[in-house]
Symmetry: C2
Subunit: 375 residues, 2 copies
Amino acid sequence: MSKNFNFTLLSNDFNARAGILNTKHGLIETPIFMPVGTLATVKAMGLKDLDEIGATIILSNTYHLMLRPGIEVIKKFRGVRNFMNWEKPLLTDSGGFQIMSLSKLTKVNDSGVEFKSHLDGSKYFLSPEKSTQVQNFLDSTISMQLDECVPYPIEKKKALNSSILSLEWAKRSRSSFKHKIGYGQFGIVQGSLFPDLREFSAKELIKIDFEGYAVGGLAVGENQSQMFHTIDLTTKFLPKQKPRYLMGVGKPDDILGAIKRGIDMFDCVLPTRSGRNGQAFTSFGPLNIKNSKHSQDKKPLDILCNCYTCKTYSRAYLHHLFRCKEILGAYLMTKHNLYFYLNLLRSARNSIIKKNFVKFEENFLKKYYSYKDGI
Amino acid sequence: MSKNFNFTLLSNDFNARAGILNTKHGLIETPIFMPVGTLATVKAMGLKDLDEIGATIILSNTYHLMLRPGIEVIKKFRGVRNFMNWEKPLLTDSGGFQIMSLSKLTKVNDSGVEFKSHLDGSKYFLSPEKSTQVQNFLDSTISMQLDECVPYPIEKKKALNSSILSLEWAKRSRSSFKHKIGYGQFGIVQGSLFPDLREFSAKELIKIDFEGYAVGGLAVGENQSQMFHTIDLTTKFLPKQKPRYLMGVGKPDDILGAIKRGIDMFDCVLPTRSGRNGQAFTSFGPLNIKNSKHSQDKKPLDILCNCYTCKTYSRAYLHHLFRCKEILGAYLMTKHNLYFYLNLLRSARNSIIKKNFVKFEENFLKKYYSYKDGI
């Protein structure tokens, strides 16, 4: 493990864990939600906003940053953190997922992937070595190995072959990782919903000895109980003393269920993307602010929320902003949703420390599932 | 004059004036720039942003607010200030300009104007009485009379007839104005570029005795020297002890020229609209952040500016945000531009108090005109 990149497990409540991740760029209290900053910006949020909502780590995307602003600009600024003036930790994905989902593939072989930009068709090449090197240029506090993501459902044989390819890429990613004090690199467990493939993938990855392990290949179409089951049978093979990151998940209830199963880190576009589209996450369930029932409502989005949006603006005003397609609407809803997520995870963490997580989750879900379109 | 709606002239430097406008909702130091909040939101700006840039009064639009959110919602919130949670003074225009420029007119007669919404074609009626009543519902600190705006150029006879109609509407607006402590209503001088019409309009308006006077019908296609000339020959007929508002103007150099000619108050969409489109106003002239020359530039937009954007972000980062059409770009540029305008007017005010305005303007313009697309 890189020096000074330490994960300390402070407390657990059954399988739920509260910890502290110590990195070059700051401490991260886990469980943690990482706002997604695809293009070196958490959409609609300035640095002050990220401070106000209490973000301690954000995520950005190797694939997108390679295309825009491009590696030359990032190198000139000595990393994406300097480029966007974000001083705290940054996690970057490896680009694998976007190559599969966004770009036009030209060639996949053992050495890597040739692909065309989804923006202008220009050609790029990504290999485990290249992805790791680029993430080093990005000055990522936490780099991810290059992996292959498979769709769901998938035949077992294909899932096995893909898991083997991802493991090969894991080794090559690790070999090319430049160890620096306080920086880390995570391996990614694949294997679709097949228990034996997950076990195989986890055990092989552990031999490579990363600073942390991600559970990949979920939230791709399976239902919640399938996802929970796969998390259960994956985390039991992961070392207790290293952080565990569930990639791309999810709704508030998904996240609590995953925390209960031993996950420490999360990222998802839902709070930001939904916010821009008019959906708020609240203590009383999701709420669509575009619904005309809110047009004269003086209540805040969430009567239990202490965020800037809820302390300052009414549903009627937010409804008006969305009706008029005003930028301020996207900003205020994004800020609320991110605050809601980060606050949910802070509260979950406190409940784990108090050995009260199960009750906490039960109370949360009871309120969360009880109303339609807000209280 | 309504009680406690007082304008105090503190200082003058030739015709340039520094004053304080005391209103129900707070003090306004003049000369002042009023950010435009058409739909009860200064586009992309939250209340914290308006505080940070030092806004002391904003402007909103009767026409737009009648359509969305509509008067019923505004009544329920007892005014647009409560609706948007803005505690400081608000000026609203009368709706006249938008009826002419945006909506489909169905009928103009002595009693008022029938028009169809530019959004959905639904019918509305606006008269001097109705506009004044609506502005009362809006809880506008400063209401504007309903007036007719004429295009440029225009035949003198048409300009005369329109001036006469606007004067008639001024009287009816004034008769229906509900006098409340600390609130005021302004009349609007029209008359296109015709000196005798401007004199006639100004003198007749003064007889009606408003709390302030606006110069309307400029920034409609005439050049800067024509505008300055018309301001000169209008302000000389206006009472020294009342505030003077030049509607819809303008670029930084327009504003300084108008301050020199005795104008106290300004509004314009330029800093907000240009900001969203990628144009920054800087001490060294306008700068188009979309220009690829900025793509690797570590300098702030304006090396002399102390705003949040300039203290935090580089041109390269802002260029990237605009290239990627990120909301944050529109937000940061709007915030810079508004700060730049408000700071320019604060500096102008200080120079008037120090009897140094002419030198101040000269120095500003020398820098402002010296560079192309930023220093």
